[in-house]
Symmetry: C2
Subunit: 309 residues, 2 copies
Amino acid sequence: MILTVTLNTALDITYGVKALRPHASHRVTEVTERPGGKGLNVARVLAALGHETAVTGFAGGPTGEQVRAGLRGTERVRDALVPVAGPTRRTIAVVDATTGDTTQLNEPGPLITPAEWAAFQESYERLLRSASAVALCGSLPPGVPVGAYATLVRAARAVSVPVLLDTSGEPLRRGIAARPDIVKPNADELAELTGSHEPLGAMKDARRRGAHSVVASLGAEGLVALTPEGEWRAPAPDRLSGNPTGAGDSAVAGLLSAWVEKLPWPDRLARAVALSAATVVAPVAGEFDRATYEDLLAKAEVRERAEAG
Amino acid sequence: MILTVTLNTALDITYGVKALRPHASHRVTEVTERPGGKGLNVARVLAALGHETAVTGFAGGPTGEQVRAGLRGTERVRDALVPVAGPTRRTIAVVDATTGDTTQLNEPGPLITPAEWAAFQESYERLLRSASAVALCGSLPPGVPVGAYATLVRAARAVSVPVLLDTSGEPLRRGIAARPDIVKPNADELAELTGSHEPLGAMKDARRRGAHSVVASLGAEGLVALTPEGEWRAPAPDRLSGNPTGAGDSAVAGLLSAWVEKLPWPDRLARAVALSAATVVAPVAGEFDRATYEDLLAKAEVRERAEAG
């Protein structure tokens, strides 16, 4: 089983409106909702690829109940969320039908008590015993210590479970020092972590800070990987238009599934870029188009960095 | 017991944001939520005035459950909502901390099936047997016939229960023809109903269309009542600043509570304007400030229209 951790789970709500105008009243023409938070997205993609998964993190209040209800219908995704008193957050994406643009409103998430954080860690350590890999994803809800990911990385490494960290800011800075197997920052997150706006230099710095491998999504350039086994670049396919929501989570699912299948780095990266691109073109945010995925996977060209120049 | 009907109940959610900018991502700094829909607001104010109330309408899905949970804590408000399969709507008010302005996003509400509408009517007729008055409030959810309020007004009049109608558009046009005891439109709703932008002429027209009494809220002018017993004007108090959300619902509660207490029209209007103003100044939207209410009630001057000129 692959374990994904989403400390700040969410109910992702999408509203369609004709045109968003501040200070006006709007009739919402379309409402869709689904369980969200990066680790839940990763688990859904892993499950679609045929991997057994378990999702953990926190769920509380009526919104937490809706998240759990939404997970019950998903094959190969086991709900291992830890109940908390505070309410799970909602995120609202308001899509303007006129411009196609999205305005995002994110609730902060529940306040986690020290006892709830302790209960989570106990449950996490139990889940690690049957995990082949673990992904630690997304922001921290209020109350969780900023060094939380460092603690969770150490616990995974103590029992030799490969661990991927996908977060930003101070939680990334602290987490990376605990030596995760993979971190997957984008250019902005790298710059925030290292102070350098030169991605390759920043990636090298991230490895010096503790990450065994750094896989960075550099927009149109695609994925770049600096690893103990070598350096690779997997260019993004051309002419993709669509909704980028969840593309990064699909890349994480690609890396992690190929890792537990013991595929070499070039195959991991090929899967990650193909899944990511197939997510952008899928009509539903966060899902991937299987035909596009298989097509792009067959065509993916991963080059060693020395060759790529 | 006073019965209030809210066919399109809601969970009213308020988000505080620093500044709302279309197409940007926002961290919501404050989240508050409470059961909403005009009839539920009316019932809460009636209950605060000491009246036993029952609320009916529809509730469905997880949001309906949250509305019901929110009602459980409210003394003297009995939950008589009828369960439906579709999900109760959410309304989201995004308050911009920089400008103080509010942007409103309203979900459409559940699709009501013919069987659910029939079940509601049966329950409504049972509730009428122990009602001293009934208020029919707000918009209709999808699936409910546009003549719904006419049907509900007739059922109330058939068992001699006084009925107040507070809605707009075609549901008001149809409902008024069934001869409700009171309608409570504002200037816009009167204009839409009658085609006349001259409020007094429009009020007379509304009476000709079937309303026994018309009580119109004319903004700064206050309340004007045309009734079989006479015509009155109750000016709004000066210099009120605050949140007008729920002020109209408080006026309905004032009219209806004074009606069942058998107070004459001037006392009904005095209570309505004082409650309405005390709602505007209250810090929480839809609640009223009791000290302000009592103060304004003592000072309220209701004049006969002949004198008022």
